[in-house]
Subunit: 202 residues, 2 copies
DNA sequence: GACGAAAACGAACGTTCGTGCTATTCTTCA
DNA sequence: TGAAGAATAGCACGAACGTTCGTTTTCGTC
């Protein structure tokens, strides 16, 4: 019972990286098996369908995301530091070595936006949770007095998402080395607009 | 020689819409053929490979994009009107009925960012051209005195792209009906920051 | 060391993919 | 109107897909 979980984890690790390149649909059991020196059927036995594999890849990716981005950021003090931590770690996540194809969720989001089913549903759930983290962090910053009281906190979340997606696009498709610096500038502007004056010029 | 071009055009029209849903790779000759009441081989004969079909779909999409977004916008006067026209028509493009899966290029960009080849190369070329249109429109607006002289016009282009991508994400994946209004607000803020003061309070 | 269970394998399945052929039908133009 | 040529259909192919099955290897426990 132990050995099985070990290889299952190894499979999911590799599958997450592969899916970041080719997508969940592009992920192939045969290719994944050869990459891991496993037989197709041996790998397949761990998950009992392709869809179950896709779901578990998503689940695995989300767990890593929480551990590497969300949790350490929530350890930062409320307000500007926490907000910056979220952004910086989000950027780092999209470049991390286990994700050679960029953010798994960006790939999955575009791929699944028109294909109903449990995989899409789970992804939407994850995205909503992540947006909620951003919104809540902003609202906590408002409570603490770091940010202005804004009418629509979700506007900030969508804007922040845009900065990230634009970075992803410019960096991964256009291979523009200035994309990262521009993403930071854009986020700075976003944050600057939300900061209350005394925080602004400290 | 006339009939052939006619059906070829019909094929490309339908293929563009289908590809906006399932991507260029997900686009399948068999599915496309049945949708058009054609035989697989009959359709295939028009393009001599899948890759050629993908390239022509991209070409076709770009031509429609120029005709529906770029050209009418460039008919607007320089400065704010032209910039707003570009944005509005870009938004409209992503929602247009021949693209049931959203912007074809967003789908293709994510799909191709890790798969080298001529299709990716062509897409990158298109994206660069489109960014150049945005940058040039901004620079012309500066010349005319509508916008501040900014250090990095491409920053504006990347930010504008981000607004669009965030809209796409919130709208298509999360089905958030407020996504469009937020996109407009975000673009307004972007434009407002670039406008020179006398233009700002007119 | 032996035994039961878990894990991995190898071969085969039905289907679909892109891609070639060879006919057949339809257009076009002298 | 009839011949030339383009457009489409029909059929078959090899490869890859997810999936199933029976067998073999490996593991954990007594």
């Amino acid at each position: 019972m132990r050995k099985g979980d070990l290889t299952r984890q190894a499979i999911l690790d590799r599958a997450t990286g592969l899916a970041s390149k080719v997508g969940l649909e592009g992920l192939t059991i045969g290719a994944l098996a050869t990459e891991l020196n496993l037989s197709k059927s041996g790998l397949f036995a761990h998950f009992h369908s392709k869809e179950a594999l896709e779901l578990q890849v998503l689940e695995h990716g989300a767990a890593v995301f929480v551990e590497r981005v969300v949790r350490p950021s929530l350890a930062q003090p409320r307000g500007e530091p926490r907000m910056r931590a979220l952004f910086e770690r989000w950027l780092g996540w999209a470049q991390s070595s286990p994700l050679p194809g960029g953010c798994l969720f960006v790939q999955a989001a575009v791929e699944l936006d028109d294909r109903p089913g449990p995989v899409r549903d789970r992804l939407v759930q994850f995205q909503r949770q992540w947006l909620a983290v951003i919104v809540t962090s902003l609202e906590l910053g408002i409570e603490v007095g770091a940010f202005h009281n804004v009418a629509d906190p979700e506007q900030f979340a969508q804007d922040m998402y845009g900065v990230m997606l634009a970075y992803h696009h410019a960096s991964r498709l256009l291979r523009d080395p200035r994309a990262e610096a521009r993403a930071r500038r854009a986020f700075d502007a976003l944050l600057h607009a939300a900061l209350v004056p005394n925080e602004k010029h400290r």
